[in-house]
């Protein structure tokens, strides 16, 4: 029985797109060691009580509605991007809103994490490098 070559190739190579995990990354040896999913959600959604525990923490997000961002929030809160955007829009009027800082791409996020000790960001799991620490992995 002949097995088609491309089928064998599919089995041999772990496909990059198949890994849907998202890593919550932070500075290696930084202020944050590991975080629960709830803690991450509280931090990203601007919960006052949680943010006060990390007064100098810089939280990073992405500009635009990328696939990664969509998957991240869906995995973290179960909400769609429009819902998340509406949420922040609602808070924006108050002047007290504290949304995450929007970065251009994952490279910029990783760069920022490497440079600063108290930064939190998220990237596709395969993009994680050895010089950053993973605080949590979202399936």
């Amino acid at each position: 029985m002949r097995i088609p070559l491309y089928f064998l190739l599919m089995l041999a190579l772990p496909p990059a797109y198949a890994d849907s995990r998202i890593a919550i990354v932070t500075h290696k040896g930084g202020a944050i060691d590991s975080l629960t999913r709830k803690q991450v959600a509280d931090i990203y959604m601007g919960r006052g009580a949680e943010l006060r525990k990390h007064p100098d923490l810089l939280v990073l997000d992405y500009q635009g509605d990328s696939k990664l961002r969509e998957r991240f929030y869906l995995a973290l809160t179960g909400k769609s991007l429009p819902q998340i955007n509406a949420y922040w829009a609602r808070l924006a009027f108050s002047g007290q809103a504290n949304p995450p800082r929007r970065m251009t791409d994952e490279a910029a996020v990783l760069q920022s994490i490497k440079r600063n000790p108290d930064v939190l960001g998220y990237v596709d799991f395969p993009k994680v490098s050895d010089d950053v620490a993973v605080a949590l992995t979202l399936e």
């Binding site: 959604m45 006052g48 973290l76 809160t77 179960g78 909400k79 949420y87 108050s94 007290q96 809103a97």
Partner: protein, 407 residues
């Protein structure tokens, strides 16, 4: 019209009509208020519940993030409702946003508490939203609603009531007033009657008019009868008075009246020093006439004697019949004793003339006794007795003569 302390039918009816409208309005007000209040409380609770549901997401966000601005916006939004007395939004962290309508929070005991869940985790409680209901505002609203209803009902009731009032005044009051006015002008016993109503004639008013007229009819006939009776009584009174003092056969005064007149005359004579005379007269042959020719002839004879005597005397002299055939004459204001004697002789002469009674010609004579005042007595009793004595003397002297009393 006479003053009457009773209120008029008009005014009494007016107050009944107006009063009942107001009372019904008042009862409606109370009843509707009770119903409206119960309704409004329920409705208000559900309304506030809906209001809270509308702001629940924002409230949850505020509680989740601890954002006081958003929380205050939520509270402000809730406070816009007039029935919200106070609202507060708090989480188990630091957020506490609140607003109250009155300084004294105990005035609004009814509270609705909503638990706020995390926008991202429906199971996690992040805070609470509490709203207090302003019962007094609900009450005020209920009062306004029921008040409008009661007012509308009063107005609605006043229209038919006014129509009833108008109808009663036209159909009852005015006809009664007209009848009263007519009754006032009618003299009892007159032939005047009540005129039937010209407009709005009703069975009852017509019957009242009819019955009143029957009554007037009765009154008239009773009064006419009574008047006739009264006249008859007057007549009888005169008649009986006459009978008591007069002789029924001749119409001459009887003994009672004679005595009365004698006493009067003597008093008068005493006062003016007059001379008077009393003549007793007895018919000589009356008894045989009566016995042989019958009472009718006897009676006729006595009448004729009386007439003859009266014709001879002055009007002021008294001729009385005091017994069967006995007559008495009082003469007053005489000049002397002779005058009395002359008159007695004139009477004697006159009665000696024959009487024509029916087909009979009767010759009777008379015996006369004369007593003079004051010579033969100063009081009626003595004078009478003496005149009587003189008359018996005349009879004793062979009848048909005059005897002067002799002391």
């Amino acid at each position: 019209m006479n003053f009457n302390p009773h209120p008029s039918l008009h005014s009494r009816l007016f107050w009944i009509v107006a009063g009942s409208s107001v009372v019904i309005g008042g009862i409606t007000l109370l009843l509707m208020f009770f119903i409206a209040f119960q309704n409004n409380i329920q409705e208000n609770k559900s309304q506030i519940n809906r209001l809270m549901q509308a702001v629940e997401y924002s409230a949850a966000i505020a509680a989740f993030t601890g954002n006081a601005e958003v929380a205050n916006d939520v509270i402000k939004g809730l406070m816009l409702d007039e029935t919200v007395c106070g609202a507060q939004l708090f989480n188990n962290d630091q957020l506490h946003a609140a607003s109250v309508k009155y300084a004294d929070t105990s005035t609004c005991p009814e509270a609705i508490l909503h638990t706020l869940y995390s926008p991202f985790d429906g199971a996690e409680v992040v805070g609470y939203l509490e709203t207090r209901i302003d019962i007094s505002a609900v009450k005020a609203r209920s009062y306004r609603e029921s008040g409008k209803l009661a007012l509308a009902l009063i107005v609605l009731l006043l229209i038919p009531n006014y129509v009833i009032w108008l109808a009663v005044s036209r159909l009852v009051v005015r006809p009664i007033e007209t009848l009263t006015q007519q009754l006032e002008e009618i003299e009892p016993g007159s032939t005047a009657r009540l005129a039937p109503a010209t407009t709005y004639e009703t069975k009852e008013i017509s019957q009242l008019t009819h019955k009143s007229n029957s009554l007037l009819e009765n009154i008239e006939s009773v009064l006419v009868y009574e008047r006739a009776q009264r006249n008859e009584i007057e007549m009888l009174k005169v008649l009986y008075e006459n009978m008591a003092h007069h002789d029924s056969l001749t119409g001459l005064p009887n003994r009672a009246l004679l005595n009365d007149r004698l006493v009067q005359m003597l008093l008068q004579a005493k006062r003016s020093n007059e001379l008077c005379a009393l003549i007793y007269l007895d018919l000589d042959k009356f008894k045989p006439v009566n016995d042989t020719l019958g009472h009718d002839v006897g009676d006729a004879l006595l009448k004729a004697v009386a007439e003859r005597l009266l014709r001879m005397m002055r009007k002021s002299d008294t001729v009385a019949r005091v017994g069967g055939d006995e007559f008495v004459v009082i003469l007053h204001s005489l000049h002397n004793a002779q005058e009395a004697n002359d008159i007695a002789h004139k009477v004697l002469h006159a009665l000696a003339q024959p009487f024509s009674i029916g087909k009979h010609t009767l010759n009777i004579g008379s015996s006369l006794g004369v007593a003079l005042y004051p010579q033969h007595g100063e009081d009626a009793e003595t004078l009478s007795k003496n005149a009587d004595i003189a008359m018996y003397a005349a009879k004793g002297a062979g009848r048909n003569n005059v005897q002067l009393f002799k002391l």
